[in-house]
Symmetry: C2
Subunit: 536 residues, 2 copies
């Protein structure tokens, strides 16, 4: 067989040749921007010419600070197919972290959405490697800014030729993109994605048995393009010629619902907190979701109650998936096997609420504290280890933290899981969030999901608090739904749990709060929660 | 990303771990054999131990002369995952060709189905590299044979351990399998399939937009496992945990129909002649095909009339695909784009009768006689050139014939095609079968398919005959359906064609024949047909 490199260039070229008429829709600052893969290709070529003109070399880091929009999509391909490295900056990082990642990656230029300029202005004097800022706006004029030198994306593109010879001879292990994890302790850790990894990951999520992405789809990625390649969806959609619907800056739940209805979205992807908000919005106003074949839910565990609510109230299946920054990210997808469809409804929901089956292409191992492999009995727990062609091999320029995380050629995920007889993986907890009470483990995730099955509960997070006798005991923080406020007591929650969990799992305390603190990618921030509780 | 090699081992291991209960059904000599991926894995391990015991080394050629059955499937994985090279011998080759390919490949052992022993007995003294024959039979006793030394597959397996450590560190470019083309002129040409190529090809045919192979499928490969990896289906099905239904020795159309009905087949794959025979059988007896989601048709062009007949009479879509020995084989799949579904029925049938869209992962070019790229206008024709990770880079040990066929890093397919505005490729003809009449091209394939749309016609093949004035002129050889015999004249065929093709395309002669000669893989053998006509 030919030694033909697996490059993103092949993805881009296929969309131009086979799907020039298929649409890309982007919620811009001034409205809805529409174009097609034919025009998209020309702008990607213009962008590559701009990079060349600016003196960007192969391997140089080109950063983006941007929402999910068509310009960001152009950068996804223009930068990577050119041979440079796309560094997507997480716009929800603290200023110090943003400064850290830009300097650690040694970004050479930053492409920034107009409304995100202030994030950079405060740190501009501390970014010695950055040689230029390119502002992305619909307006003819750039907003006033202290950044320097600063250029207009649209003006640069307009002046550049609309053809470009993308290199065909890159090594497939060439880095294409990078992203930093939102570490809750210490500095963020950088992960490099190669052309090969992104290519294979894209193929994987087009498989009938994973996300089955297809030309027939109209895809809405709510999951941000600034984090883990928006779960790889922009690459895969472009390859298969799917319609892409990019929701732009700060999409609120109503905007999301409207986009789904108006653009006849078939598949959308987001974290559980997004789907909780969409459910709340839908309960207020019945949008037309008849085009939808599924909502992909990942980033943290989707509660069974959420999955059931979408099924029963909206008639849309939640497709549960699991991944992390280090894994490009898709690792597990919870699609029941054919013979499981005969199971009783509740048992099937239990399966769907698990993170699911390992996708084709990866290998996993579940390793307990003594280094033994856990049995697949749904009970034994251990840390999930992964290896495969789209799993990171190290943290960027960080040998010290890479060593334990990638020991022995496996990624040690720090996720504690069990695997049932069917091979369905269930995330029990993050290693550091597991609660050890009297020598036994309590899963904070299981407790949370059980509490969230209560109709009055909007969100719940469970953390360990130190305990003299039992070492640790669980404490639940609960957000009550607006219409239930004042009608629910701590005792109600406890009595709701009594026939659902073991007695010693019952939280020592239930605290009603207005919100659960979240990380920059929308997950429960348990570190912040523990700090708040300690202070209180 | 990890430098994790793409190996068939990963496919095998996934089936064992995730789908141990899923079924493999094989039509054996004594009935239907059933087992599951759990038991399959153990037998594959036993087989690997047998290979080791026999002194097979990495890279050694291990040949099979076998039908589509479970033992052949075990060899597909046991040999390749062990690190040796699976050489599938085409049991329909002429004796001299069989001798040639065994010696050219330097096969070390041959695994042979009991009823195929006679094929080897006649040439056994001319196979210096072959050190052993392993006979595959359900019976306890081996049939009497002059082959020596000879072993029983089942006895060897029974004596071997059922665990094996398949190597994890093979280079992904390691050859895994090989197959010889059934060249109509000269000796057969060998094609090597690497682990990487088979792995990526398997992923490709699992894509929602290609064959969408899935765990939910019950797959019947009628296309032989001795030729081009049975279109890669055995590898892909094992990866995704599909049920496999292997039809065994010499399956006739009624057997195929019965297997589809009884094993609730969802997808089956074969050449057009198979589907013509299945259609004829179905017309005699209405089998229950309600489980079927599609019949994949490749190897030669599927006539539009056949596609329509399956749709209208059976309610099963024909999924048209294209490939060749040198391409693993899937290259094109004719799945209409979403917006084409609004087209008028007849226009949509025209699209489905084309070979279709290039699958993700490959690149193509259509090059005319002057070396220019043909426009995608559905009219200009040229030779189809291909490149990609599952396209051969050369013919095995044959630099002389490799040079023109792989010039410039592209496979020159010798297939003359046109491409329409949607990117759908249409095979006009094999380069050598095109008819050049008065300086203009006539497509023998188009003429055949138009003739086959006549309700009385079972099969039709068109070849060029020399002509003094026009250089070449078309002659049609037609097989009439049983119930129409004696009721159709040459003039009927010509008048049927008159409003369907250009006047100068009308055949100079229509000859009624009892059968069209076929190649060893079921395609029209036009070389043999031309010879017959010349003799007549």
């Amino acid at each position: 067989m030919m030694e033909y490199p697996l490059l993103l260039r092949g993805i881009l070229e296929r969309s131009r040749k086979l799907f020039p008429k298929k649409e890309i829709v982007s919620r811009d600052y001034t409205g809805i921007w529409r174009y097609n893969y034919g025009d998209f290709y020309k702008r990607v070529c213009r962008l590559a010419n701009v990079l060349q003109e600016m003196g960007i070399h192969k391997g140089d880091r080109v950063a983006t600070l941007a929402w999910n929009n068509h310009r960001h999509l152009e950068l996804y391909f223009g930068v990577t197919c050119y041979g440079a490295l796309l560094h997507t900056l997480n716009l929800r990082l603290f200023t110090e972290q943003l400064e850290y990642v830009i300097n650690h990656a040694e970004d050479k230029v930053i492409f920034v959405d107009q409304d995100l300029l202030p994030l950079l202005e405060g740190i501009k004097d501390k970014l010695p490697t950055v040689q230029a800022y390119i502002v992305m706006t619909d307006s003819d004029e750039l907003p006033a800014t202290g950044l320097n030198p600063v250029y207009s994306y649209e003006k640069l593109l307009a002046a550049a030729p609309d053809a470009f010879d993308f290199p065909e001879d890159l090594d497939e292990y060439t880095p294409a993109a990078m992203c930093y994890t939102t570490a809750t302790t210490g500095d963020p850790k950088g992960v490099i994605y190669t052309h090969r990894g992104l290519y294979l990951h894209s193929m994987c999520i087009g498989l009938a048995d994973s996300l089955a992405l297809s030309e027939t789809d109209s895809l809405l990625p709510i999951v941000p393009m600034f984090h883990v390649n928006a779960w790889g969806l922009p690459y895969a959609c472009t390859w298969f010629g799917s319609k892409q619907v990019l929701p732009g800056a700060r999409p609120d739940p109503a905007t999301i619902c409207k986009l789904i209805e108006e653009e006849k979205v078939t598949l959308a992807a987001g974290v559980p907190t997004i789907w909780m908000a969409v459910l709340a919005a839908y309960r207020q106003q019945k949008f037309d979701f008849s085009s939808v074949r599924g909502f992909v839910c990942g980033g943290s565990a989707a509660p069974k109650a959420l999955i059931k609510a979408f099924d029963e109230e909206i008639g849309v299946p939640i497709l549960h998936a699991y991944g992390m920054t280090e894994t490009t990210p898709v690792v597990l997808v919870s699609k029941p096997k054919s013979y499981m469809l005969d199971w009783p409804a509740d048992q099937l929901y239990d399966a769907k609420a698990k993170q699911g089956l390992l996708v084709p292409g990866l290998e996993m191992k579940v390793v307990d504290e003594e280094g033994r492999e856990a049995a697949w009995d749904g009970k034994q727990i251990g840390e999930l280890w992964l290896r495969g062609p789209w799993i990171a091999k190290e943290y960027y320029k960080d040998p010290e933290r890479s060593k334990p995380a990638f020991a022995g050629g496996w990624l040690h995920t720090s996720d504690i899981v069990s695997v049932d007889k069917e091979g369905f993986v269930s995330i029990v907890d993050r290693a550091k969030d597991l609660i050890k009470s009297g020598g036994e483990w309590i899963s904070s995730v299981d407790l949370e999901n059980t509490i969230m099955a209560h109709p009055a509960v909007q969100e719940a997070a469970v953390v360990a608090m130190p305990h003299e006798k039992w070492v640790e005991r669980p404490v639940a923080c609960v957000v009550i739904r607006e219409d239930w406020k004042g009608r629910l007591s701590e005792a109600d929650i406890i009595s709701f749990l009594e026939d659902k969990v073991a007695k010693w799992w019952l939280p020592d305390k239930v605290i009603f709060v207005d919100e659960i603190p979240k990380t920059s990618v929308g997950k429960f921030n348990k570190k912040a929660l523990r700090q708040r509780l300690e202070q209180a």
